[in-house]
């Protein structure tokens, strides 16, 4: 039983006299206690919306439709009432946002912004709260926390701000932490530090982490399982190593090959994915990625591609996946779920973190494991 089970999550924005937008279209994935899961995709693929939907932070306006399930140990977050959702937020599930400056209230001292969580969820007040807050800041590596408590966001550096935000997030040792592009707004050196910080936090607190990013580098650094999103659906799910070694979905391939790599030979050029996220095909009429896809075939268009589960416990949504050298296409296919069904329904930990180095031998062991 996973800590968080997201099933068929869909979010649509209906605006007056404009066509409704399906930002998230049947995303499913699951997170286990203490696991680090990545949601990867270009901006606009629905990563952030997904996280907001789970947190119930989407604007409460007529026209915003949320469907599906998000079960957090037993309770469906999408069903519960506002009050109990507020109780869960910040205590059981915490979130870290992209832009630390705009995510902090400019006119309230850091201290209060930290202590208010403690007061809300741990009923701490006055001195006690202040003391705890100081410790938290110290824990996230903010020097001279006592003074910082009194300072305002604009007096802190970018990194400091993000640390402060993290401090607030982990203030109640949540069981799940959602980090939405936590490092994008920071410069590289800081990025590394923040990632380190997050890593050790989840390590020693056993907090599960959902890492939302467009940056495969980040994912490679820390995620156990990775879900690649495109056009509001998960198009491929796999453990970290296999995904990087053997991407199957052309989109994943594209993403990987558009990341500069040190080990790339000289002269070898980056080949970015043509076009942009905007020109996608609505899933019902085929594979959303088809318009940009290098491996497009006629079958791509017409009906949504089926979800393919492989013997090595991965899943992808493609009719013409990137071939695995030495395997005839479809050879490793274990099961095919019809288009409407969800990827990632394979319990991720059932998948060995290290698939056999030799593709040829892959089929057999994985079979045993799955049985």
């Amino acid at each position: 039983m996973a800590l968080l089970d997201v099933e068929e999550l869909s979010v649509t924005f209906a605006r007056r006299n404009q066509r409704t937008v399906r930002a998230v279209d049947g995303v499913s994935f699951s997170v286990d206690a203490g696991e680090v899961v990545g949601l990867v995709g270009e901006s606009g693929c629905g990563k952030s919306v997904t996280s907001l939907a789970i947190m119930g932070l989407l604007p409460r306006q007529p026209g915003v439709q949320v469907g599906g399930k998000a079960v957090f140990d037993g309770t469906d977050l999408l069903q519960i009432d506002d009050r109990s959702r507020r109780d869960i937020r910040g205590r059981d599930i915490a979130m870290i946002f992209q832009d630390p400056l705009s995510s902090l209230n400019p006119v309230v001292p850091i201290g209060i912004q930290v202590t208010e969580v403690l007061t809300r969820h741990r009923g701490m007040k006055g001195q006690a709260a202040a003391k705890e807050a100081a410790q938290l800041l110290d824990r996230v590596g903010i020097p001279d926390p006592k003074r910082r408590l009194k300072e305002y966001p604009h007096q802190l550096s970018g990194g400091m701000r993000q640390r402060a935000l993290i401090a607030m997030a982990v203030a109640c040792q949540p069981r799940l932490l959602i980090a939405d592009e936590p490092t994008t707004a920071l410069d590289v050196t800081i990025q590394a530090q923040i990632l380190e910080l997050l890593k050790e936090l989840v390590r020693d607190s056993g907090t599960a982490l959902v890492m939302i990013t467009h940056d495969l580098g980040v994912v490679a650094g820390m995620c156990d399982t990775i879900n690649v999103l495109y056009g509001g659906r998960v198009v491929e799910t796999a453990r970290r190593r296999p995904l990087f070694r053997q991407p199957r979905h052309p989109y994943t391939v594209g993403l990987l090959s558009s990341v500069p790599r040190l080990d790339a030979g000289r002269g070898e050029r980056l080949n970015p994915i043509p076009g942009s996220v905007r020109d996608l095909l609505p899933w019902p009429d085929g594979c959303a990625f088809a318009p940009r896809c290098a491996r497009r075939v006629d079958a791509c268009v017409g009906e949504p591609p089926e979800l393919v589960l492989t013997h090595d416990g991965r899943s992808y949504r493609c009719v013409n996946p990137a071939p695995v050298p030495g395997l005839t296409p479809g050879e490793d296919v274990r099961e095919v779920v019809p288009g409407q069904a969800t990827p990632g329904s394979v319990p991720a930990q059932a998948v060995p973190n290290d698939p056999p180095a030799v593709p040829g031998l892959a089929a057999a062991p994985s079979e045993e494991e799955t049985s």
Partner: protein, 334 residues
């Protein structure tokens, strides 16, 4: 902080100087002159000449201006030509009325405007929102004096709920100390007098409040809407804070910034409104008095009053700046 205030006060000086010059030129350019105002129907040209001479109106402008400035510095604004009383006395007598009126108007405007604006923003697109936005539009578009008249006709002439003019029922013979009637009433424990004075403030207060109220509603609504999609509000929500805390600490406090500035800018408008409101309600304040002064070409009064209003106006803005720097730590007060 202190240095900031001092600097701002120093900045006043050139403004006031320029203003006094503008005023002076303006006053001299006015057609006619005080002499006829004094004489009325009975004036013969000879008498007028005599008065011009008496009033020193035919001395060189510079000398007259010099005299004026010397006076200003001694805060002696001269004597009103029409009432023959010291302008400062007049001011002490009448300004409290306007202050009371303005404060009432502001209390009404802020007290109703901010909550209404906030609710409108939260219920965006619902009835309350449309109602308050529409209402505020009309509030801006209706001529103050007409509104004032309507209020009077309805609430005092027909329903008789409120007195239709003046600051207090003269038959009470209330004691005067500061000329802030409400305050006086409280200080002398003449509760009935205080209540009566307050009662007299409500209708004109409403009339005067119409425009600021409208503006505050709109600004509050706009800025709350803006703040509501700010990231830090989302953060606050993500922390699971109670609606109450989110509203107070995170939404309102930030939304207040633009409102604070607008309030400062509104005072100028309020003083204009006072001219009309006070005239309609025969309310003894500087607004009505200014209108009279212009009728009578009452130079000293005009000079003094406009200067004082300018000072008050600038001071109010100073206060707003200070309050602003209190709400918003990013604004450094140096």
């Amino acid at each position: 902080m202190i240095r900031f205030i001092v600097r701002r006060l120093l900045q006043l000086i050139p403004t006031l100087f320029g203003l006094s010059i503008l005023l002076f030129i303006w006053l001299r350019r006015l057609p006619g002159g005080p002499e006829t105002a004094i004489l009325g129907e009975r004036g013969t040209p000879e008498m007028r000449a005599a008065i011009r001479q008496n009033l020193g109106l035919d001395e060189p402008i510079l000398i007259q201006y010099g005299r004026f400035v010397r006076r200003m510095i001694r805060l002696d604004l001269g004597t009103s030509i029409s009432t023959k009383r010291e302008v400062t006395t007049e001011f002490i007598q009448r300004f409290p009325g306007t202050v009371e009126l303005t404060i009432t108007a502001m209390v009404i405007a802020i007290g109703i405007g901010i909550p209404l604006g906030y609710l409108a923003a939260r219920r965006r697109g619902r009835f309350l929102d449309h109602a308050s936005v529409g209402g505020s539009l009309i509030g801006i578009c209706i001529p103050v004096f007409f509104l004032a008249y309507i209020l009077k006709a309805i609430f005092s002439e027909n329903l008789g709920w409120f007195p239709s003019s003046g600051r207090q029922d003269p038959t009470l013979g209330a004691t005067r100390i500061t000329n802030f009637f409400v305050l006086d009433g409280l200080m002398t424990r003449e509760w009935d007098a205080a209540a009566d004075a307050l009662w007299h403030l409500i209708l004109p207060g409403l009339a005067l409040a119409s425009i600021p109220l409208a503006i505050i509603v709109r600004i509050t609504r706009a800025s709350v809407l803006e703040v509501l999609n700010e990231d830090f509000v989302r953060t606050a929500e993500a922390k699971g804070l109670t609606e109450n805390v989110v509203r107070r600490r995170h939404v309102l406090r930030n939304a207040m910034l633009p409102v604070a500035t607008s309030i400062g800018l509104l005072t100028g408008g309020l003083l204009s409104g006072a001219v009309l409101t006070e005239t309609v309600f025969a309310f003894s304040g500087i607004g009505a008095f200014l209108a009279e002064a212009i009728d009578h070409r009452d130079y000293p009064v005009l000079m003094g009053f406009i200067m004082i209003i300018a000072i008050v106006y600038v001071l109010v803005n100073l206060i707003v700046d200070l309050s602003y720097s209190l709400i918003d730590p990013r604004v450094r007060v140096r």
